[in-house]
């Protein structure tokens, strides 16, 4: 099948269907409501389940219920909605259920605005709700990558029995780009009989399964948290993803940027190259696990004088970049939190100001 021109939100929705996820619960919120609108038409065609819940709070638990009984399921929302879902996300993580969440981030705090933003970085990568947990977080830089990450998200969620979060922004959601849906990313749901509450008859068993997050015994709770921790360490070993751009040159500055913002940086890097200035970039594709080792190694390249964390917020990823660089180079933040995305020219001027 050739490429088709699709809006990011609709492509994300279609990618879920192609990935074999036929269950979707959601509550409308700008700038991602097209996902729900698309699936309200599409899922009935394929015998799937579409339900508009009464709130993001309820939707979070519809996802929990559906996931806990062993079915592939996902939802999509935008920042304020993800805050409301965060309670459920904590429970889902605690109960070790696989589920996929899409957050098409908008500016904040509070109602903020609806333009592209990366203001939910901390919420995405540091857990977000109560308790000690992480999500596997992937951040696409365009519609095609959003499709691919969406299709990868379901088997990854099942591999870890942990929620996967796709972190986009209004530009990724609203933009149309040519996309294709890679056949090799189609996957079959794994067998969940050993843990899911899918009915004893379904798995031909006499022993009930229990999906829960309550561990009143202190040792059991600590062991449970150690088990979760081991998962996050395994994510780092096995499912870390990043792109190194122009990183085999003797660059003078290293940019760390993801998603929409990284596209602007890429254009700036190309333009600077034509002016004889080399700039490298590490683009985290997974925000958790975070490519800290790659950033460290790229930062300490002898030619590199400065590291720039460029993001659509007030400097959140900056803290992880600093942690990766470990003081070996100065690290500076540049960004905007209002939705006015810095232009390639802004980035070029910024880089030059440090050289």
């Amino acid at each position: 099948m050739g490429k088709v021109l699709m809006k990011g939100n609709e492509a994300i929705a279609e990618a879920a269907v192609r990935a074999g996820c036929l269950n979707y619960f959601a509550y409308p919120i700008t700038p991602q409501s097209e996902i729900a609108e698309y699936l309200s038409r599409r899922l009935p065609e394929v015998g799937g389940v579409f339900l508009q819940g009464e709130s993001e709070v309820a939707v979070g638990y519809m996802i929990f219920g559906a996931s806990g009984c062993g079915q592939r399921v996902f939802t999509s929302t935008s920042s304020p909605g993800f805050s409301l879902m965060s309670e459920a996300v904590s429970y889902i993580t605690g109960a070790e259920c696989p589920a996929v969440f899409v957050n098409i981030v908008r500016g904040g705090p509070g109602l903020g605005g609806i333009l592209p933003s990366q203001a939910d970085y901390f919420q995405a990568v540091k857990g977000g709700g109560h308790g000690d947990y992480h999500l596997l977080v992937m951040a696409p830089d365009g519609v095609q990558e959003a499709v691919e990450m969406m299709m990868m998200a379901f088997p990854l969620a099942e591999k870890y029995r942990n929620p996967v979060l796709i972190l986009g922004d209004g530009l990724i959601g609203q933009m149309m780009e040519p996309v294709e849906f890679p056949e090799n990313l189609r996957s079959e749901p794994t067998n969940k009989d050993d843990w899911a509450s899918n009915g004893m008859a379904t798995r031909n068993s006499d022993t009930p399964n229990l999906v829960k997050s309550l561990f009143l015994d202190p040792r059991a709770l600590n062991d449970h948290n150690l088990k979760l921790k081991a998962k996050y360490e395994r994510m780092m070993r096995e499912d870390l993803r990043y792109e190194a751009y122009n990183a085999d040159t003797d660059y003078q500055a290293l940019i760390v940027s993801f998603g929409t913002m990284s596209r602007v940086c890429r254009t700036a890097i190309d333009a600077l190259k034509r002016q004889g200035i080399e700039v490298g970039m590490i683009r985290p594709q997974t925000l958790f696990p975070f490519p800290e080792k790659a950033i460290h190694e790229a930062a300490i390249r002898p030619s590199c004088k400065v590291v720039l964390s460029i993001e659509l917020n007030m400097g959140q990823m900056l803290e992880d970049v600093q942690r990766a660089v470990l003081g070996e180079r100065p690290v500076h933040w540049h960004g905007n939190a209002g939705g006015d995305i810095p232009s390639p020219e802004d980035i070029m001027d910024l880089v030059k100001s440090f050289l």
Partner: protein
């Protein structure tokens, strides 16, 4: 090389569709494209606009403050975007309802009464296609044959609108060429 076209007008003037058709046509020519709409509360009845980026390379930043070209369907759009257009760009002005010019001497300004032309053809809603066709004919940003074919495919799903929009294509093209 990357070029960007800004389409702007009232909500309901078919702005987003114009952009989509252009993006489809560029895709059909093997070019890279990105289509970026305005979205949110401003789309309810107010000004609508979308930006189409077209390039022979993968598109890096789709965010541009100075687009290459403009198709302005109403006066507020022209006032807002005309000063931002790169020198040498094409600015199509819907002269049926815009009585001012771009006030630029370094662009190729094309005034076409697209609303009146569409009315004469029998459906005012085809005005966007008249404007888009005039723009394509003037800028040659994509080939005319590819473009015509794309419009045909777009309206193949809506047979009642197909002939009028194909007529709108011809009217737009001849208006652009006549003006020159």
């Amino acid at each position: 090389m990357q070029r960007e076209v800004m389409f702007a007008g009232f909500g309901g003037q078919g702005i987003l569709l114009s952009g989509k058709i252009l993006a489809e046509a560029a895709m059909a020519e093997g070019l890279e494209v990105a289509w970026i709409p305005s979205y949110g509360p401003e789309m309810r009845g107010g000004t609508a606009y979308c930006l189409v980026a077209i390039s022979d390379q993968p598109i890096g930043s789709p965010i541009v403050r100075t687009p290459s070209h403009l198709v302005a369907m109403n006066r507020p759009s022209l006032v807002k975007f005309a000063p931002t257009i790169k020198p040498g760009g094409v600015i199509v002005i819907n002269s049926s309802i815009i009585d001012i010019g771009s006030n630029r001497s370094d662009v190729d300004e094309l005034r076409v009464p697209v609303t009146d032309i569409a009315k004469e053809l029998g459906n005012v809603r085809a005005a966007n296609i008249v404007a888009l066709s005039a723009f394509v004919a003037r800028s040659r940003i994509v080939g005319l044959e590819t473009f015509k074919n794309t419009v045909d495919v777009e309206f193949a799903k809506k047979p009642d609108l197909r002939s009028i929009n194909l007529a709108a294509v011809e009217a737009g093209i001849s208006a652009a060429l006549k003006d020159r």
